[in-house]
């Protein structure tokens, strides 16, 4: 029996084909995974099913929900199906709810627009559904507004809205991508529970193969608007038939060959650390509770101490809000400390103008967002050459920029182009070239591969490993993704509420976490079961 049957779904936006002959079935009560890299057409498929495509998009083919072709329905008929027969949740919980309405009203609205219940009764159902998604009325009043809830809680409200009328199908488009790993695990548990107990089918759309592995019974792999492969999850993971699927699987837990530590292995104490943080404290002033009352203080970094040896790769992990970013800003000399010291190659890091350019030149950074990291009005040579401001522009600046581009796998001729002409992966390469150009001793990689697709991510990780081999700089690798940290770091620091709660060799800490925070992180990180993997064919 089939609940949803998609047949030959095709779509073009203007002249660009977006979807090309998509076909798949979902049975009642089944979790079906749709996986693919960005731009593969996953979200467009979901929007086409919902009839929520951008104006002017006319999909062809069939989308049969329990025997009715949704594509042939009028907009009026579709509004009767949306929310009643199909519910949908989206990626970004922070903006998915109306900031001006209470969560109870927003859940009740689903019932009211479908005239499923009178107002009072709709409120009662809303209360009940909110309790079902883990927001019981005694702790989370339905009178709360979205801004009073966290991201994970808001995603729960979005789920309550989507399941308020007990639809037969729930579409979840990257429902946990914007969330912390621990919150992600909770939301995925909630969705699995709903499928089990309420009998709804779930179309789970994600870029993350490990999430699919833990949730979906069957899946389809999408690439460039087509489905390249469909099948039962475990069988498909064990024996992918298509090269594309194989390369995705390989990239998802790719481990670059890590260079042997160039530092003398003998006495660790003998090697002068390149970065030495001692008792670092960073406080923020919060808005005062009343005029003239003292500002309350928030200690974002609370007595942190650690060292990084030359050429070492150190990971820094923790949930969002643990103080990772604040610590990073202090190390870069962008914000002053309120206590403790940060020494870079033996000299004190201070914020602002008091820090000498020579000292600043010893540390560089690569940011997460490949789009916000570059001034869109400058050409690549000016972007990559910006750190020369610290060292004075050398005579052979042009040659060095060309060499740096070549080193990160780009064409030296690219230096005359603007940043919008490059893809996300290429931009991160340019960001690495910019960090590399003045040969710093330490590069901070602030979630530097988090926004990249798995295959591109694997290539960038390889690049980073090779550069460390060639130039011997140290990395401080900040990430929320334990699998990446596992792949590229020698040592890991776990941060919680402004403190380092655990540290040690990466493999050891992640295999046998001692602190509850690390245990929680490790347990929440979705993984592909080890025995599903193809017999090793790598060296």
């Amino acid at each position: 029996m089939t609940l949803l049957a998609v047949r030959d779904l095709s779509l073009a936006l203007g002249q660009t084909p977006v979807l090309d002959g998509i076909s798949f079935d979902i049975a009642p009560g089944e979790v079906f995974g749709l996986v693919g890299e960005s731009g593969s057409g996953k979200s467009m498929t979901a929007l086409a099913i919902m009839g929520l495509l951008p104006v002017g998009a006319h999909p062809r083919g069939q989308v049969n929900l329990a025997g009715r072709d949704l594509l042939s329905l009028s907009e009026r008929d579709l509004t009767r199906i949306r929310g009643r027969d199909i519910g949908m949740i989206f990626q970004e919980p922070m903006t998915a709810l109306n900031p001006m309405k209470t969560i109870g009203d927003q859940v009740a609205e689903t019932l009211l627009v479908h005239r499923a219940a009178p107002r009072g009764q709709a409120q009662a159902v809303a209360r009940d559904r909110l309790a079902r998604v883990g927001l019981p009325a005694d702790r989370f009043s339905p009178g709360l507004y979205p801004h009073e809830l966290s991201g994970g809680q808001r995603q729960r409200v979005a789920i309550a809205m989507a399941i308020a009328l007990r639809p037969r199908l729930l579409i979840a488009d990257e429902p946990t991508t914007a969330l912390d790993v621990t919150t992600q695990a909770q939301i995925l548990d909630l969705l699995a529970g709903l499928v089990r107990e309420e009998g709804l089918a779930l179309l789970l759309i994600t870029h993350d193969l490990a999430v699919i592995a833990g949730q979906a019974r069957r899946l389809a792999v999408m690439q460039k608007g087509r489905i390249v492969e469909t099948g039962a999850t475990e069988a498909l993971f064990r024996a992918p038939r298509q090269d594309y699927t194989r390369s995705l699987l390989a990239a998802s837990d790719h481990r670059p060959v890590r260079p042997v530590r160039p530092a003398p292995a003998g006495t660790a104490a003998a090697a002068e650390p390149i970065l030495s943080v001692r008792g670092a404290v960073r406080e923020y002033l919060l808005p005062r509770s009343a005029p003239f009352a003292p500002h309350p203080r928030l200690r974002a970094v609370n007595g942190v101490s650690f060292d990084i040896a030359p050429g070492e790769s150190v990971g820094l992990v923790g949930e969002s809000g643990c103080g990772k970013s604040t610590l990073t800003r202090a190390i870069l000399g962008l914000d002053p400390l309120q206590g403790g010291t940060i020494r870079l190659g033996g000299s004190d890091v201070t914020a602002g103008r008091t820090m000498s350019p020579t000292l600043r030149a010893r540390v560089q950074v690569v940011f997460q967002d490949p789009y916000g990291s570059f001034n869109p009005r400058h050409r690549v040579d000016r972007l990559v050459g910006e750190p020369f401001h610290l060292t004075g522009r050398p005579r052979d600046a042009d040659a060095r920029i060309a060499a740096a581009l070549q080193e990160v796998g780009l064409d030296p001729a690219d230096r005359h182009r603007f940043i919008h002409e490059f893809s996300g992966g290429q931009r991160q390469r340019i960001a690495i070239a910019r960090a590399l150009i003045i040969r710093p001793d330490l590069i901070i990689l602030d979630e530097a591969v988090s926004a990249l697709d798995v295959r591109v991510r694997a290539q960038v990780l390889d690049l980073l490993a090779r550069l460390r081999q060639d130039h011997g700089m140290a990395y401080l690798f900040i990430s929320h993704d334990l699998s990446v940290v596992r792949a590229v770091t020698d040592r890991v620091l776990v941060m919680q509420a402004g403190r380092i709660v655990e540290e040690g060799p990466t493999g050891q800490v992640l295999a046998r976490p001692a602190h509850p925070c690390t245990q929680r992180l490790a347990a929440s990180t979705p993984t592909i079961p080890a025995d599903w993997k193809e017999p090793a064919h790598a060296p």
């Binding site: 929520l52 109306n98 689903t110 507004y145 801004h147």
Partner: protein, 315 residues
């Protein structure tokens, strides 16, 4: 909520103090001695000096500033040099024209702008939208005094539906007063309505593009329902801001229109006072207008809090 209110209230008081200082300072540097102005060119130096003492012009500036403020707090705005009557009486009398005119114009503005803005946003990219956008673009370009002349030409001189100017007062009943204010209110309102309609349209379109609208559509709401139930309330923040500024403009900026229609309003009072160097009147009326603007801004801030729950976080 308390914190937000308190913060706005503190800034209200600070703005008033700053504004009064600026006004006082500007009047200080204005050339010309009010006493000699009042007495005319032939007055002797002694009489002028006597009048200066009588008017309190001899005192040091800080002292005069404080007595000005203290007077205003009691409702005493001083004596007009030219009219020789208390400024408060003058202002009160003029407000019976200016306030109804501003309210009338504001009501017309909203009455035209809201349907037009909603229609344009709902029919985005279609003929109705293009028509509204073109018309509002022309409306913004209209100098209101010229528009007023055209209105007089057509509705007062040609068809004789409304009076061409002057104000009969409210003694003769509501109808003649309203009739006298109709053409001025239209002349003031239409260009403002054009601005407001455009702001409403773009705020609605901006809101329509947000994620929560898509969520609402996924629940089964129609486009029209999302606009009225979700987008409109979110779009009200910029609209309230503009509406607040427009009330101030309609109250104070009516100077020119009051001149066109010979209306004895606040704008005309201050215009005449400026040209006659009746500085006490200028000083006080500007202060009253600034006070009105600041109070309206404060009211708009309160309206924000009423609309937007994020501003009324529990303290």
């Amino acid at each position: 909520m308390r914190r937000y209110l308190l913060g706005r209230l503190v800034s209200l008081v600070l703005s008033l103090v700053a504004a009064s200082l600026v006004i006082f300072a500007v009047i200080e540097i204005v050339p010309g001695d009010p006493a000699s102005y009042m007495l005319g060119l032939k007055a002797s130096a002694e009489t002028v000096a006597a009048l200066r003492t009588q008017l309190g012009l001899d005192a040091a500036p800080p002292e005069r500033y404080l007595s000005w403020i203290a007077g205003m707090a009691r409702g005493d705005f001083g004596l007009s040099y030219t009219y020789k009557v208390p400024v408060s009486d003058l202002v009160a009398q003029r407000l019976t024209v200016s306030l109804p005119l501003a309210a009338y114009a504001l009501a017309l503005t909203a009455l035209v702008a809201f349907p037009a803005g909603l229609l344009a946003a709902a029919r985005r990219g279609r003929i109705a939208d293009a028509t509204v956008m073109g018309a509002t673009q022309l409306g913004i370009a209209l100098p209101n005094f010229w528009f007023a002349m055209l209105l007089v030409l057509v509705f007062a001189l040609h068809w004789q539906i409304f009076p061409a100017g002057g104000f009969p007062g409210w003694e003769g009943g509501i109808a003649p007063g309203v009739a006298a204010l109709t053409l001025p209110a239209i002349a003031l309102a239409l260009p403002q309505a054009a601005i407001l309609a455009r702001v409403l349209r773009s705020a609605l379109i901006e809101t329509e593009g947000q994620d929560f609208i898509r969520t609402a559509r996924a629940k089964g709401l129609t486009r029209g329902q999302t606009m009225l139930r979700h987008a409109l309330r979110n779009a009200m923040i910029p609209v309230m801001t503009i509406l607040g500024m427009q009330f101030s403009f309609l109250l104070a900026g009516a100077i020119i229109i009051e001149n066109v229609f010979y209306l004895p309003g606040l704008g005309r009072l201050i215009f005449q006072a400026i040209t006659q160097r009746d500085l006490i009147v200028v000083e006080s009326v500007v202060m009253i207008l600034v006070f009105a603007v600041i109070v309206v801004t404060f009211a708009v801030d309160l309206a924000y809090a009423a609309i937007d729950p994020r501003l009324r976080r529990r303290a």
